[in-house]
């Protein structure tokens, strides 16, 4: 078993069943985890910001930074591994708030909203989520089983 770390703004897809995809420090960022149980392909995106419109150059250099460029790219990479959209399970984690009350204009909430907008437009439903609150999270996706766990502090829970 080997760990494949997804950095902030990073994106990885794989069919290697020895791999566990992992990403740390999910504060206001969101991890989008995809798994196709038919072809056993897995993917993980760790995006930081909702939209790329104000940073088109950065979107080219690091598309995984933004929900609106990262999520479509994640799905394209899954399709390149032979996945079909209808088979892909989607789990998400993060989107927390760490200042104030976490209301409408909080970056974590805005990340969550943009992510849901993208999935709504694409007619994709989220299978499971662990979002919001003020916990920092670490997400793991085990490629051999498709299982996802979310860790906050020392507590690890399946998603």
């Amino acid at each position: 078993m080997r760990l494949l770390t997804v950095s902030i703004g990073g994106l990885e897809v794989t069919k290697d069943r020895e791999v566990t995809l992992i990403t740390h420090g999910l504060g206001s960022c969101i991890a989008v985890m995809t798994y196709d149980p038919v072809v056993k392909a897995a993917g993980m995106l760790h995006f930081q910001l909702p939209t790329s419109s104000l940073s088109p150059q950065r979107a080219v250099e690091s598309p995984g930074t933004f929900a609106d460029t990262g999520i479509p790219l994640l799905f394209e990479r899954m399709y390149a591994l032979g996945s079909k959209k209808g088979n892909i399970q989607v789990k998400v984690a993060g989107g927390g708030h760490f200042h104030g009350e976490g209301g409408a204009f909080d970056i974590g909430k805005r990340n969550y909203t943009m992510m849901r907008k993208i999935f709504w437009n694409a007619q994709v439903l989220i299978t499971a989520e662990d979002c919001g609150g003020s916990r920092s999270r670490t997400a793991r996706l085990f490629v051999d089983t498709g299982q996802v766990t979310i860790q906050s502090g020392s507590a690890v829970q399946p998603l």
């Binding site: 849901r116 709504w120 007619q123 439903l125 989220i126 989520e129």
Partner: protein, 130 residues
């Protein structure tokens, strides 16, 4: 077995959103018909059988509370499950609706995944739509 569903809401935009969320549920959905208020819903319910009614509360002509009351008093319609999808209500109104026989209450804004979960639970997993 395909499930036939009646959507009752005076907002055509909300009816479309609910229709889309239902279509993503993975259940075998048959016909999805719409009504703009409780009175129109009763007309549709008199014409044919539905497996589920998804109804708003705040509507003209006849609101959702009265629709649930009428359905619960009818020997045939009382067997049709009703899920209320409505803007946040007071606890007393939610209790009243559930006492009248509404199977569930989903506050707006609703997550499509939450609506899917409620619909699947009430209709059972059924035949998965390919």
């Amino acid at each position: 077995m395909a499930f036939d569903i009646l959507l009752v809401d005076d907002s055509p935009v909300t009816r479309k959103m609910v229709r889309r969320a239902v279509s993503l549920s993975g259940l075998d959905i048959g016909q999805v018909l719409e009504a703009g208020d409780g009175a129109e819903a009763l007309l549709r319910l008199a014409e044919r059988r539905f497996d589920l009614v998804l109804a708003d509360i705040n509507m003209p002509v006849m609101n959702g509370m009265e629709l649930v009351e009428r359905m619960s008093a009818d020997p045939v319609l009382s067997g049709v499950p009703v899920v209320i999808v409505a803007t946040p209500l007071s606890e007393a109104r939610v209790e009243r609706l559930l006492d009248l026989g509404a199977r569930a209450y989903l506050p707006k804004p609703f997550r499509p995944e939450a609506l899917k979960g409620v619909v699947e639970e009430i209709l059972g997993k059924g035949v998965i739509h390919a």
